[in-house]
């Protein structure tokens, strides 16, 4: 199969234009993860060679700066995957055009192997969600001991240990301390500091694109017992949105997380289900566009990985801003290239 252009032509208009102060929501499910879409988004914002790839000069010369906050995938994962697209994130990070905020490795102040998550091919929320609430508040937790030992022994691996700031490429590691909005405020301050750093360097007129990867993990891992609910998380997102040009957010939209707490089937929904549904649907109401990834309803297919539906969210201003709604199929090839096509096409 021929190699695909890094940016599928059908998707290019949706990935390259995020108007000022807009919110784009990418929802994924376990069988259809959003990594590839986020990578295409990074490519579209950061790459200089966009116009070579599909002939059209979509780039108007104003490259964007990107701050990526990732809660479920480590730096190593993003670096390696972006390289496959021809995007050198480490070099861009040195040029302060890109900044990576690590919300995974030390979120709960526990040294943990950062390359644990990237090795799995479908790291959506489900496995951490079941294991992490058990981790509890920061501090010594019984049962942690065995987990640390292999992590330390793995320190000889490519991921550098030690002080967080010395790691190349990672602008900041988020720590969750305290509870409730105070804890979120600390993280917000950390992220805004990174955004300001990126803003200050180079051409300050370039707008900053903020990508928050799976913040629902934070909600699931803390929950109402720690004073964090859907409302607090939404306010946290709002606070970040106020500091950047456009925001892209990825969320899990698996059926149990959305529908168990829905109005029709409200009985017996767990707090996580309720808060997650409320957070995700609330964000969809605020979003300009919602990109929904899901698997084929008819089952697995050899040449289709999933369905991407692009819809207008509740927050689109119905004036001049227009967005064509579309439903496309995509296929992720073995080499990581992605083919995007309409139904009935190939």
């Amino acid at each position: 199969m021929p190699s695909q252009p890094p940016l599928p032509p059908l998707l290019a208009p949706y990935l390259s234009s995020q108007p000022e102060s807009s919110l784009t929501l990418i929802s994924s499910i376990l069988g259809a993860t959003s990594n590839w879409l986020v990578l295409r988004l990074l490519y579209s914002a950061l790459s200089t060679s966009t116009n070579q790839t599909f002939g059209l000069d979509e780039h108007d010369g104003s490259k964007k700066k990107v701050v990526l906050v990732s809660f479920l995938r480590g730096w190593e994962f993003w670096k390696v995957e972006a390289k496959r697209l021809g995007l050198d994130l480490a070099r861009l990070a040195d040029k302060k055009q890109f900044a990576f905020v690590d919300g995974l490795s030390e979120l709960f102040s526990a040294p943990q192997s950062a390359n644990a998550a990237p090795t799995t091919s479908s790291p959506t929320g489900i496995p951490p969600r079941t294991s992490l609430p058990l981790r509890g508040p920061p501090g010594p937790v019984p049962g942690r001991g065995p987990a640390i030992a292999p992590a330390i022994s793995a320190s000889t691996s490519s991921v550098a240990r030690g002080p967080a700031t010395s790691e190349p490429g990672i602008a900041k590691k988020l720590h969750f301390s305290g509870r409730g909005t105070a804890a979120l405020d600390i993280m917000e301050k950390d992220i805004i500091a990174v955004i300001e750093q990126v803003k200050a360097s180079g051409d300050s007129s370039e707008e900053v694109l903020l990508i928050i990867d799976q913040p629902d993990f934070l909600l699931a891992a803390t929950g109402t017992s720690m004073g964090i609910g859907a409302t607090e998380m939404s306010e946290w997102v709002t606070g970040l949105q106020l500091n950047v040009g456009a925001t892209v957010l990825t969320l899990a939209a698996d059926s149990p997380l959305i529908h168990n707490a829905s109005v029709s089937g409200n009985q017996g929904a767990t707090p996580v289900e309720g808060e997650h549904a409320s957070f995700a649907i609330g964000l969809a109401h605020r979003a300009r566009s919602v990109m929904q990834l899901r698997t084929l309803e008819t089952g697995a297919a050899r040449d289709v990985s999933g369905v991407l539906r692009i819809s207008r969210g509740g927050g689109i201003s119905s004036g001049a801003d227009t967005l064509d709604e579309k439903e496309l199929l995509y296929y992720i090839q073995r080499d990581g290239g992605v083919k995007v096509f309409g139904r009935g096409e190939s």
Partner: protein
């Protein structure tokens, strides 16, 4: 509710929606907009703002999810990290009717989404929703001259709320619907049409978006008919509670904003039943098809029909019971076109 004559509804209910949307006579102090992802309330809010601008009403937006002040609103109150009391204070400070500017202006206060407030303060016992909403409509400061304020509150129906802390208290949503003087539920016109088409065939009406309960689907809306403009528009299901206690239920259609200029004063909302797509006109050509084609005129003119109805048939006469042999006569009144013949028409 008894079916009301369509023309009666057309006059009264169109006047009502016009009054409600233009905030005339403070017909509804608290309007509740129930929206969903399938049909967000933002076009209706823009319509409210547009009409408010036309009649020079002061617009305040209390933003729980909006980042930027939309075009046309005069005051923008962000609610991030603010207590309800602070919000009330800021909103009343946003508009100070000065006596010098003449009569106090009317005021429109929009809350773009009340869900965050309900779900975060739900645990806070000191928060009292009726008094919070009431504070906007009747300012606590009596010194301020009475300004007619209308409150428009949006509630996202599909965002699950938190269960009430006290199981014996009604849910916040019930309280909201109880307090509201008008409730407008928004529907997407294309969905309404699809559901009606299914009902007309006695099929199960389709559901869209979240209600599909499909893995990974948040939004079902796809504008397949985009561009044709045929099914654009919003269906408003209005429930208005009059002061007398009588309720009015009506379905309206609000066309998309691109169909009319921003300065249009004439009413643009129509009854849903008047829409040609929702309620197609009865096909009249069906009657013509049934008549056999011939050179004779088989129909009747109005006058002929009248005359025919005037004929007293023999069995009516026979029922007088004048005795055997009597009755059953054919009674015929001569028309002017009848030619009297002595021999034949002898009675």
């Amino acid at each position: 509710m008894a079916p009301v004559n369509l023309s009666h509804r057309r006059t009264h209910n169109l006047l009502l929606i016009s009054k409600l949307l233009s905030l005339r006579d403070t017909a509804s102090p608290l309007t509740l907009l129930l929206d969903s992802l399938e049909q967000p309330a933002s076009p209706l809010i823009q319509e409210y703002i547009r009409r408010a601008k036309l009649s020079k009403v002061h617009v305040t937006l209390i933003a729980f999810e909006t980042l930027k002040c939309p075009e046309g609103c005069d005051a923008f109150v962000s609610t991030r990290r603010k207590s309800p009391a602070d919000i009330i204070k800021e909103v009343s400070a946003a508009y100070q009717p000065s006596p010098s500017t003449g009569p106090s202006k009317r005021r429109l206060i929009i809350i773009d989404a009340i869900n965050p407030l309900l779900s975060s303060r739900g645990s806070d016992l000191s928060f009292h929703l009726p008094s919070f909403l009431g504070a906007f409509i009747t300012p606590t400061n009596p010194a301020a001259s009475k300004s007619d304020a209308s409150l428009v509150v949006t509630y996202h129906q599909d965002v699950p709320g938190i269960p009430p802390q006290n199981p014996y208290l009604p849910s916040t949503f019930s309280i909201l619907t109880y307090l509201a003087t008008s409730i407008i539920t928004l529907h997407s016109f294309s969905h309404i049409l699809a559901q009606k088409a299914a009902r007309d065939r006695s099929l199960v009406p389709p559901v869209f978006g979240l209600e599909e309960e499909q893995d990974g689907v948040l939004l079902g809306r796809l504008d397949k008919l985009g561009g044709t403009g045929a099914t654009e528009g919003i269906v408003l299901e209005l429930e208005h509670r009059r002061k007398s206690g009588r309720g009015v239920l009506e379905w309206y259609l609000l066309p998309p904003a691109s169909r009319y200029p921003a300065t249009q004063v004439k009413e643009i909302v129509t009854l849903l039943d008047d829409n040609i797509l929702y309620n197609p006109p009865m096909e009249s050509y069906g009657d013509d098809e049934e008549e056999p084609q011939s050179t004779f005129e088989l129909g009747l003119t109005d006058r002929q029909r009248r005359d025919r109805e005037g004929v007293v048939l023999p069995y009516f006469d026979a029922q007088h019971g004048d005795g055997p042999g009597e009755g059953g006569r054919i009674l015929y009144d001569m028309g002017e076109e009848d030619d009297f013949d002595e021999e034949e028409d002898e009675i």
